[in-house]
């Protein structure tokens, strides 16, 4: 696989997109809580692990990919 091409297509292209908007937005000062609530809809019972529906509130994990 051409990983160098992937790096360009994802990381560098994404970085360029973000950089274009660097002066934009109305940034929220770090430390504030702009939504004041649970991030994701409905909450639910966290089951952690992989392919699950969320974290455990302890050691955070991440969603699975393909």
């Amino acid at each position: 696989m051409k990983l160098k091409k992937l790096f360009h297509a994802l990381v560098l292209a994404g970085t360029a997109l973000g950089a274009v908007h660097c002066g934009g937005g109305t940034s929220t000062p770090p430390g504030s809580n702009s939504t004041g609530g649970q991030l994701l809809p409905d909450g639910g019972i966290p089951d952690g692990g992989t392919g699950g529906t969320g974290g455990t509130g302890g050691m955070p994990g991440g969603p699975p990919g393909w």
């Binding site: 994404g14 274009v20 770090p30 430390g31 939504t35 955070p60 699975p64």
Partner: protein
């Protein structure tokens, strides 16, 4: 004749498309929530629009996964209908949002893109090729969202909290099975023709993508990947995948 418990190739194919259906339905919900959250955080509209688009894309992807699941003889399909965030609720909003965007886009979607590119090379049917092409095209944008967010957020959010958490994020995303020996039937080379990356190749692609795309990407944007690199080295060594 004794009954074999070894899963057939079709079982593995159906199981994989079923798992992908869950991944896609979960991702659709996560991107929908991230779009609202990015707006609330004051991120550029271009980023929240990318997340909105990704949410719609993932719903369409889930329908493709369901079709291939059924075609492979799959019966029971379960999607994800609710999600909670991985970041602890006790964190401040900028850290929580950053963690969620990075976990979903920089990591999971980047890895998915790499898997799809791998699959494109081996797909057998024109229908499968067309779908994989469509998905790969979309996932590129889903991944870029994360890297774009980091570039935008860099002057606004202190990323120093993230580095020590990357091993847990990567381990959670990879899943515990990827560094174990292949389950029965999961390493068959014919799987590639049916849209499934054989276990050993999947691990190879995963590791190479971390080393050549994800970790350098983090480092280029001010996120310390040293802990994640150490974790990967130790994990591979423990699994005897590289000399200890």
């Amino acid at each position: 004749m004794s009954e074999s418990k070894v899963p057939s190739l079709q079982d593995v194919v159906a199981g994989t498309w079923g798992a992908r259906y869950r991944i896609e339905t979960e991702a659709s919900l996560r991107f929908g929530a991230l779009a609202r959250r990015l707006d609330a955080f004051g991120a550029p509209r271009a980023l929240s629009e990318l997340a909105e688009r990704a949410s719609r894309d993932e719903t369409r992807h889930a329908a493709h996964c369901e079709r291939f699941f059924r075609a492979a003889g799959g019966q029971q399909l379960t999607g994800v209908d609710h999600v909670v965030e991985y970041a602890p609720a006790s964190w401040a909003e900028p850290q929580r949002l950053t963690y969620e965007v990075v976990a979903q886009s920089c990591l999971a979607e980047t890895q998915s893109t790499a898997s799809l590119v791998t699959l494109l090379e081996g797909a057998e049917s024109q229908e499968l090729k067309a779908v994989l092409h469509e998905l790969a095209r979309d996932e590129v944008h889903h991944s870029r969202l994360g890297w774009a967010y980091l570039a935008w957020a860099r002057p606004r959010v202190d990323f120093s909290f993230l580095g020590p958490l990357l091993p847990g994020m990567v381990a959670g995303s990879a899943g515990p099975e990827i560094f174990k020996p292949a389950p029965e039937g999961a390493d068959h080379p014919d799987l590639l023709r049916q849209g499934v990356v054989p276990h050993s190749l999947r691990r190879q692609v995963y590791v190479e993508t971390l080393e050549s795309v994800v970790f350098p990407g983090f480092e280029s944007l001010g996120v310390d990947a040293a802990a994640a690199r150490s974790w990967l080295g130790k994990t591979l060594s423990d699994a005897r995948l590289i000399p200890g």
